[in-house]
C-alpha cells in the first residue's frame, strides 16, 4: 500500500477518526456519519486528480495507525480528524504526532487547534489583540449558590456553551438564559452532562455570519459569506443554531434555521467583517481552510463568536457551498487545500520547520 510509485504521483494519506461509531451514547454520532461520507468523497476526488490516495483510520490502536502512516511513504497527510476516539479535545493531538513524525499535513497545527477548541483561551487572545468578542465568564464547577455576583457584571440574556466543543454540541433553546436561576440550572446541567467547564457569554441577538477562508497566511481567499435565516423560527425562540437545528435533518429546528449563501450586507459592513475575519485567521495561525463565526449587533458591529480551523469538508457543508458560490467547485476546493499544504511543506516563502537531526 502506498509505496511511492514510479509515476511520481503524490502519495496522500487521508486520515480520520473511526471511533465515534462504537459508542452510541455521544451526541456526535451524526458528525461521524458525515465523516464516512466525506472520506469516500475526498478519496474519489483526489484519486480522480491523479494522486495516489489511501485512507487510514485511527482505530483503537494508535501505534498501528502511526506505523501505517510511517510505512506508507506518505508525501502528505490529509487530516480529517475532528476528534480522536470520538473525543474532540484530542483533535490537536493528531497534528502534534504528525509534527513529531515530521510529516506535512493539511490544515492547522496543534496549538491552533488546541487554542481554538478552548473558547476561553481563544477569546483571551482575541481580546488581547483588541478584536471584539462577547464578554464571558467560565465556570469550572457546578454552581452552589445563586446571586448576582456569579455573573459579575455580565448583561442578560446570556448564552451557555460547553468550553471545549465545536459544531453546536450542547446548544439548545435552553442555552440562552434571562435570569440567574435559569443560568445556574443550565450551567449545572451542562457541566454534569458534558463533563467539562461551561462558558457563559453575553448573547448578541443579531445576524450570525460565517466567513470561510482558504489558503495560507497572506495568500488567503475569503469565500462567499453565509448566514442562518432565522425568520421561520417561532417568535419567542432565541435566534440560535442548536445542535438539533444543525444536524437533525428531520427536526423542525433544522427546517427553521436554514443557511443562506450568498448574503446581503452593506458594503461597509462586508468590508469590516472581511478584515476582521482575515485578521483572526492570521492571528490564530490558521492554515489552508478555516471558518470565522461572527454575530452582528443591531448597529452592525461585528463580534467574533468562534474560530473554526479545519471545518467540516462535506460536499453539502458550509465551506463547500460558499466555495461553489465563489466559483470554486468541490474538487478544486480539495485540490486547493492540498496545494496550500504542499506549498508550506516545500517552504515556498513559509516558515519551514527546522530539522534538527
Amino acid at each position: 500500500m502506498g509505496k511511492k510509485d514510479k509515476t511520481n504521483k503524490l502519495n496522500i494519506a487521508v486520515i480520520y477518526d473511526y471511533a465515534c461509531t462504537c459508542e452510541g451514547s455521544r451526541e456526535n454520532l451524526t458528525a461521524y456519519q458525515d465523516i464516512s461520507k466525506q472520506i469516500e468523497l475526498i478519496n474519489s476526488v483526489l484519486s480522480d486528480m491523479d494522486y495516489s490516495v489511501f485512507p487510514i483510520s485511527i482505530g483503537s490502536d494508535v501505534v498501528c495507525f502511526l506505523q501505517t502512516i510511517r510505512d506508507g511513504k506518505v508525501d502528505l497527510v490529509f487530516n480529517l480528524c475532528e476528534s480522536v476516539f470520538g473525543e474532540s479535545t484530542k483533535e490537536m493531538n493528531i497534528p502534534a504526532m504528525l509534527d513529531l513524525l515530521n510529516l506535512p499535513y493539511t490544515g492547522s497545527g496543534a496549538l491552533t487547534l488546541g487554542l481554538t477548541l478552548d473558547k476561553g483561551m481563544a477569546k483571551r487572545i482575541l481580546v488581547s489583540n483588541k478584536i471584539k468578542t462577547p464578554e464571558c465568564r467560565i465556570f469550572y464547577k457546578e454552581i452552589g449558590k445563586s446571586d448576582d455576583s456569579i455573573i459579575d457584571g455580565l448583561k442578560f440574556p446570556l448564552i451557555i456553551k460547553p468550553l471545549l466543543e465545536h459544531g453546536s454540541l450542547g446548544i439548545s433553546q435552553k442555552s440562552v438564559v434571562t435570569s440567574g436561576k435559569q443560568l445556574v440550572a443550565q450551567v449545572n446541567a451542562l457541566i454534569s452532562k458534558h463533563k467539562q467547564p461551561a462558558i457563559v457569554e453575553e448573547f448578541i441577538a443579531g445576524r450570525e455570519i460565517y466567513v470561510p477562508i482558504i489558503g495560507n497566511k497572506n495568500e488567503e481567499v475569503v469565500l462567499a459569506m453565509s448566514e442562518i435565516d432565522f425568520t421561520q423560527m417561532p417568535k419567542d425562540n432565541f435566534q440560535i443554531l442548536s445542535y438539533i437545528g444543525k444536524w437533525e435533518t428531520e427536526s423542525a429546528e433544522y427546517q427553521e434555521t436554514v443557511p443562506v449563501c450568498p448574503i446581503d450586507l452593506p458594503r461597509e459592513t462586508y468590508n469590516e467583517i472581511k478584515d476582521i475575519a482575515l485578521k483572526v485567521f492570521r492571528l490564530m495561525d490558521c492554515r489552508d481552510y478555516a471558518r470565522i463565526d461572527i454575530r452582528l449587533t443591531e448597529d452592525n458591529i461585528p463580534y467574533v463568536i468562534d474560530v473554526n480551523p479545519n471545518p467540516c469538508l462535506d460536499e453539502d457543508a458550509g465551506l463547500a457551498i460558499s466555495a461553489k458560490v465563489s466559483g470554486i467547485e468541490y474538487p478544486e476546493l480539495i485540490n486547493r487545500i492540498v496545494h496550500s499544504a504542499m506549498g508550506r511543506a516545500n517552504g515556498n516563502g513559509y516558515y519551514k520547520t527546522k530539522i534538527l537531526t
Binding site: V63, V84, M97, A110
Partner: protein, 339 residues
Amino acid sequence: MKIGLVFNQKPKKISHENIDMYAEWDGPETINAVANALKNGLNGTGRREVVLIEADNKMFNKLVKEKPDIVFNMAEGFYGASRESQVPAILDMLNIPYTGSDPVTLGICLDKQRTKEILSFHNISTPKFLTVSSGKELENISLPAVVKPVWEGSSKGIINNSLVRTKKELREQVERVVNDYNQPALVEEFLEGREFTVAVLGNEDNARILPIVEIKLDELPPGSNKMYSYEAKWVWDTSDKPLNIFECPARLNPKLKIKIEDLCKKAFNVLRCRDWCRIDVRLDKNGEPHIIELNPLPGVLPNPEDNSCFPKAARSAGISYDEMINSVLNSAIKRLGEN
C-alpha cells in the same frame, strides 16, 4: 510503580555553532540523575522501576510495550513551533498520565506571543511587544528593544546584539532571527532593571515558590549589554574564568520579594501550568516586576557548577536534587488522584 522517563538526548558530537540548537536537550548526565532520583524515590516510597524512553519516532511502540504507570516528561520535542506539545499529546492519546503541563500550555509557553497575550488579558505585567516576519514591518517601534525568535525557549537565539538601539540594528536583528531561526521575530520593549528567575513547584493553591535566583547583570564583562545572552552562557563563562552571575536567594526587600512571588503564582495559574515551571522576571526602570517568559519544562542539570537554576533554587531551600525530582512526580500523582 513503573515510571517511564521520556527525554531527548543531545547528540554525542555537537559543533560549536550547534550548541545553541541543542541547548534545550539533555545530556546523559542529567538523564541518569533524574532516572536515579526516580528509582530511589524518597523514604518509604517502595521499590520503583524506571524505564528510559527516548522521544524519537519509535517512542510509541516503546510506550505501548512498557506500559508505564506514569511518565516523567522532560522531552523538548523535535520539529516546529509546538514541539514541546508532541510528547504530552501522544501520552494523552495512549492514556498514560505524565508530569508537567498539558500540550496546550506547553504550546502557549513556547510561543512568546501567545504567552504574552494570555498574560496581558489577565493584566499580568509583561513588556510591550510586537511580532514581525520581515525587516519591512518596522515602523512605530520604540527603541531600545530586544529582538528574539518567537518560538524558542530559555535564552535560545538571544545574543549580545539582540538588544538594539537604532533602526539599522533592529532591521539586522529581525533579519537574523527570521533567516537563522525560520520564524517570526518578537520585538520586545527593553527593561533596564534587574533580572530574576523563579522556580515554582506544585499546583494551584499549593504551588510553592522556591528561593528567587538573580542573574547579576553587573557581573557581565564591561561594555556588554545587560542581558543573559548566548555569549554570557557559552563564551564569557569559562572554567578558568567563571562568571559569578547567579545569586540565590536574591537580595530583595520583603515587599518586592512578595510582589515577584505573587506575580509568578498568578502567571503559573492563568497559564494552567502543572507540577513545576521556571519563570523569568525582569524589573522595569521603576522597579516593577514583569514576566518575560515561562518554562514549563525547566532544565535540571545535576552538577551545581553547571548553574542550572531550578536545582539551584531547590538547593537554596534545602531541597536535594532527588527530593526536587520526586516532588515534581508527587505533585503529579497528587493532582491525578484529585481529578
